[in-house]
């Protein structure tokens, strides 16, 4: 039985007992008042009977006296005296009738007999008075019938009196008995109520105590760390419900704690990975820095020792430059990688001609191929449609794959092969980079796209690199809706195959392509370029580059100067530094775009910071991170001014 049922039952029981008690009191009061009424009647009857007895005695005395007076003195009664006597007799009769009203069931018989006897006596006495003055008046004698009637009446009256006394006694006893019973029942009911209340109270108390003890035990165990403890559910009562609720709570708590533990573990792992990443990066950055610092110190020593051999110094400087570029690539890779890791890498889709971009990449990579004595060939695909994708990432994927191939192949053959596959839906643009270099075994193949993994730890020493290049290639291909696969055999070579969806737009690549090594694109030299940059060193470097490429150029070291030169000379391209005092690059850009005479001049933005997304949002033609990669700049200018090519 559950707690609610127990409480309801005990309340009901107490209520019923109370009603019984109240009914008892009410009933006993009724009964008692009835008995008291009867008692009063009996007592009043006694008094009346005594009065009647006295009157009877008086009337008899008067009759006897008058009778003796008539017989001895022969006196007569006046009519007044006669009437008075008759009135008294009648009065007695009325008294008798009043007494009759008080009789009860017990005294009814006695009264009837009295009434009957008096009914005989009354006419005898009335007749005595009526005939008193007359001649045939009857004198009292021995055994007179009037005297007999009187005696009988008197006897019946005495009997009635006795009966009345008995009746009063009986009622009085009844009342006493009733009171005793009422008290007894009230006491019993009270006792029962108290017992029941105590029993119910104890039962509720025990029930609550049990529940609380079970709960306390559960809470203690749970608090002590036994998260899988559950309170046994043995009934469907409140304890059962509380136990179920507690168990649900425990389960939820356990889940939450498991979640938290899991989260902590994964956070620990992430932190460990970060720490490994930092250690790795530290290592990778120190290696080129070692060369840069070392060679610079050698050059300084050369000057100090006056040991000046221009050829040797040029070679040393080239090494510094190489190491510096290598360092830059690594930093860029790390930044890109961290962008992907944090989900901040965005894809900027635009239409581009994959064949021309790949020729540019081949041109860029060819010095590297030459250095490792590799033959680099490009097998184009004349019917390749224009792709809509992120051209920068596309370029970087193949730059990474080709430079990778150059790194791991000596004196071999590296081929970039393009194919447009219309047999699938959607059609696929497939590009593969194949080398006949050192190759990889199966185990290494499985991990090749993981970050910071190279075939073995010594590979890093021999071939350099952050171990991020291929990981970036994979991430980029996925971001761009494509995929990358690798096939390799040790000492035979490696093939990386990249696929992108290609929607045929009816647009074909604009020109037929040679199936051979391509030289970098050349621009005719009648191009006017305005450079706006506040940093004199950067300005001087850019100036040297433009001069070597035989561009015509104008230099401005402030935004204000730049704006006036732009308006004056209408250059073909503007190179704009973003970080400048007073009017910064963004302000210059918006002024250029507001002015109708300068708004159509293509702008290439130069910056130390990674603000490519901002660049995408604003109307600019390109974006270069400092230090400027001159080949990239050349490509950009070529992109912007294809007609000049």
């Amino acid at each position: 039985m559950n707690l609610r049922q127990r409480l309801t039952l005990s309340t009901l029981t107490v209520l019923i007992l109370f009603i019984i008690n109240a009914g008892m009191v009410f009933w006993s009061k009724e009964i008692r008042s009835e008995s008291i009424f009867e008692l009063r009647q009996a007592v009043s009857g006694q008094f009346q009977a005594a009065t009647i007895q006295q009157n009877l005695i008086n009337l008899r005395k008067a009759v006897l006296l008058l009778s003796s007076l008539r017989s001895t003195l022969n006196e007569m009664l006046t009519s007044q005296e006669t009437n008075q006597a008759l009135r008294e007799i009648n009065h007695l009769e009325r008294q008798l009738q009043t007494l009759g009203k008080t009789v009860s069931f017990d005294t009814m018989d006695h009264f009837s007999r009295l009434n009957y006897e008096f009914g005989i006596l009354k006419p005898l006495w009335s007749n005595f008075y009526h005939r008193y003055n007359e001649a045939d008046y009857l004198h009292y004698r021995e055994g007179d019938d009037r005297e007999q009637a009187y005696v009988s009446t008197m006897q019946e009256l005495k009997k009635l009196e006795t009966a009345l006394i008995k009746s009063a006694d009986k009622q009085s006893m009844n009342i006493n008995k009733l009171e005793d019973w009422t008290s007894l029942i009230t006491a019993v009911v009270l006792l029962l109520s108290i017992t029941l209340s105590i029993a119910m109270g104890l039962s509720v108390l025990r029930f609550t105590n049990n529940s609380l003890r079970t709960l306390k035990k559960g809470a203690n165990l749970l608090g002590g760390g036994e998260l899988d403890y559950r309170i046994p559910v043995t009934s469907n009562d409140e304890l059962g419900e509380v136990a179920k609720a507690f168990n649900t709570m425990s389960a939820k708590l356990q889940n939450a704690i498991t979640e938290v533990r899991r989260a902590k573990e994964s956070a620990d792992k992430a932190s460990e990975a970060k720490s490994d990443f930092l250690a790795n990066m530290s290592h990778e950055l120190r290696t080129p820095l070692n060369a840069i610092i070392g060679y610079t110190e050698i050059l300084i020593e050369d000057i100090e020792l006056d040991d000046l051999d221009p050829e040797s110094q040029l070679q040393d400087l080239k090494k510094v430059l190489d190491a510096g570029r290598h360092l830059l690539t690594q930093i860029n890779d790390v930044l890109d990688f961290s962008k992907i890791e944090t989900g901040k890498m965005t894809v900027y889709n635009e239409e581009f001609d994959s064949q021309r971009i790949l020729q540019d990449v081949i041109a860029t990579i060819s010095p590297l191929a030459k250095k490792s004595e590799n033959e680099l060939s490009f097998i184009g695909c004349p019917d390749m449609p224009v792709l809509i994708n992120d051209v920068t990432k596309f370029r970087q994927i193949f730059f990474n794959l080709l430079s990778n191939a150059c790194k791991f192949t000596k004196n071999g053959q590296i081929t970039l092969h393009c194919e447009y596959d219309r047999t699938t839906s959607p059609a696929i643009a497939r590009f593969s980079v194949t080398d006949n270099g050192i190759g990889m075994n199966t185990e290494n193949l499985e991990r090749v796209f993981e970050a910071f993994v190279q075939a073995d730890s010594s590979t890093t020493r021999r071939y350099g690199g952050t171990g991020l290049g291929l990981s970036l290639c994979k991430q980029y291909s996925q971001l761009m809706g494509g995929r990358i696969e690798v096939n390799s055999r040790v000492n035979t070579g490696t093939t990386f195959c990249v696929e992108f969806p290609a929607a045929p737009l009816g647009k074909m690549a604009p020109q037929a392509l040679p199936n051979d090594v391509v030289s970098p694109p050349e621009l005719t030299q009648q191009v006017n370029i305005l450079v706006i940059d506040d940093d004199p060193v950067a300005l001087a470097l850019t100036k040297r580059y433009l001069h070597r490429q035989e561009y015509r150029f104008f230099m401005a070291s402030t935004g204000k100067e730049g704006l006036s030169l732009a308006e004056k000379y209408h250059p073909d391209v503007i190179l704009l530094d973003l970080m400048m005092p007073e009017i910064d690059g963004w302000a210059v850009l918006s002024s250029l775009k507001k002015n109708s005479s300068t708004q159509n001049i293509p702008v290439i933005v130069l910056t130390m910071l990674d603000e490519s997304e901002l660049g995408d949002a604003i109307d600019i033609k390109g974006y270069l991170r400092k230090p400027i990669d001159w080949i990239q700049l050349e490509n950009l200018i070529h992109d912007i001014l294809p007609d000049q090519g």
Binding site: E284, N290, G294, Y295
Partner: protein, 118 residues
């Protein structure tokens, strides 16, 4: 004249360090991997070894251990590595290296280390 065995797989670093050491009057013998280093030290005539740790074929830790155990425990070995963490340093020392220099090399510090151990 002190002869130093420089074990370094990176061509630029090998060239740069050997030239600087030669300029200071040391004779420099170079090795490109750990196995070469062990072989060269076995041939004798080496006074001190500068050992890069991440090497192909046989890494610097193994090579140092072999030199100390099989060739000469008295031949001083100074570890050179771009791994800059304390545990990397401890690992080098536990393999028998006498001292430790971190890349990029602080050249004057390296010179004083060499003087200390030769």
């Amino acid at each position: 004249m002190t002869t130093i065995l420089l074990v370094e797989d990176n061509e630029m670093n090998r060239d740069m360090l050997s030239r600087r050491l030669q300029r200071r009057g040391y004779e420099v013998v170079t090795a490109e991997d750990g196995q070469q280093a062990v072989d060269l030290s076995r041939e004798g005539g080496i006074d001190l070894v500068l050992m890069d740790m991440g090497l192909p074929i046989k890494d610097g830790w193994t090579a140092s251990q072999e030199i100390k155990q099989q060739v000469s425990s008295a031949l001083p070995i100074i570890a050179l590595t771009a791994h800059a963490r304390t545990e990397d340093r401890e690992r080098a020392l536990s393999c028998g290296c006498d001292d430790y220099a971190t890349k990029p090399i602080d050249f004057p510090a390296l010179l004083s280390l060499i003087e200390q151990h030769q």
